[in-house]
């Protein structure tokens, strides 16, 4: 029983790496299977088809993100601190898990991220939305739609992590550190 869940997760994880590297269509089921150390037929014990595998990866990924970020949020702290912690947690998580970052970035803009999927309950999105709702209720940030806020902040974190990944050499100079972008965003969204 346990090993079944393990194998499912094992397939997801090895598919995650490959998709991140080669794109959705650059990694055939056979490659995922080989990478996971199983036969290609086995994939179909755990997933209805390849699309379901991709969605399965997505569901795993958002669960992991939510877990990491929410564990580090202390809702008794001042909201400003919570915001910076949120930003840092998300950044850290992506940097610790570059293939999740790569996958998620690709997935969000892909046709896999269909309207139907977006309608389904999503613990990570719910968490992020209610996080920013808190900030608004507390009067700490501007009265923007929390959904917009969360998309905006998450997009920016994604972007920064991507920049760090790609431009590591060029940017290290004497410029304002990339981490300071969080201040820039905070200045933009804080109330007053």
């Amino acid at each position: 029983m346990d090993s079944l869940l393990d194998k499912r997760k094992c397939i997801i994880k090895s598919a995650l790496d490959l998709v991140q590297e080669h794109g959705f269509h650059g990694c055939p089921v056979s490659m995922v299977a080989k990478n996971a150390g199983v036969a290609s037929g086995t994939i179909y014990t755990y997933f209805e088809n390849k699309d379901a595998l991709i969605i399965g990866i997505y569901e795993y990924v958002v669960e992991e993100i939510k877990k990491y970020v929410s564990e580090r949020d202390d809702n008794l702290s001042p909201f400003k601190d919570r915001f910076y912690t949120y930003w840092k947690s998300l950044t850290d998580f992506y940097e610790l898990n570059p293939s999740i970052h790569g996958f998620y970035d690709q997935f969000l803009k892909s046709p896999f991220n269909s309207e139907d999927l977006q309608k389904k309950p999503n613990a990570w999105h719910d968490y992020a939305n209610s996080f920013f709702e808190d900030g608004i209720k507390l009067g700490e940030i501007k009265e923007l739609n929390p959904i917009v806020l969360s998309i905006l902040v998450n997009t920016n974190v994604n972007s920064i992590v991507g920049i760090k990944k790609n431009f590591k050499k060029k940017l290290a100079r004497n410029n304002m550190s990339l981490d300071e972008i969080s201040h820039l965003i905070w200045d933009g969204i804080k109330a007053k």
Copy 2:
């Protein structure tokens, strides 16, 4: 001669629509051909292979973006005005050309956007970078790396346009308008 360029552009345009709708791998060459009103073999008169077609669309797209945004920039105006005009031009352009927005968003995160491609000269990226360099030289915006700034601003515009596309109904309420996000970003990046 002219009709050859026309046909190339015609193929690019009809591929653009299809890719935006179905994703890179959801639109076979045969479909592109049919949509463009040519035989599939004809595609190969204009493009070496399907990948080259995708890259061709990308090159067309960034050229159009650059044209639209730079035409509306008056570098004699105060930089703050120029920033708002930049933001508005880019937003307008994407809203006037939703399939370009959809394509570009997908493309940027896809494996097609390879390191090699990123190294190639790109008039739009150069334009955006030097735009923000201007702002820094004029002392109007913070001393961030202009490459970072342009990625950041472009990402945010992209994101806002995407939100407008998807959430038209939900968001129209009484919340601060999405267009105000530009102020939020300006407040964040302006000097002082």
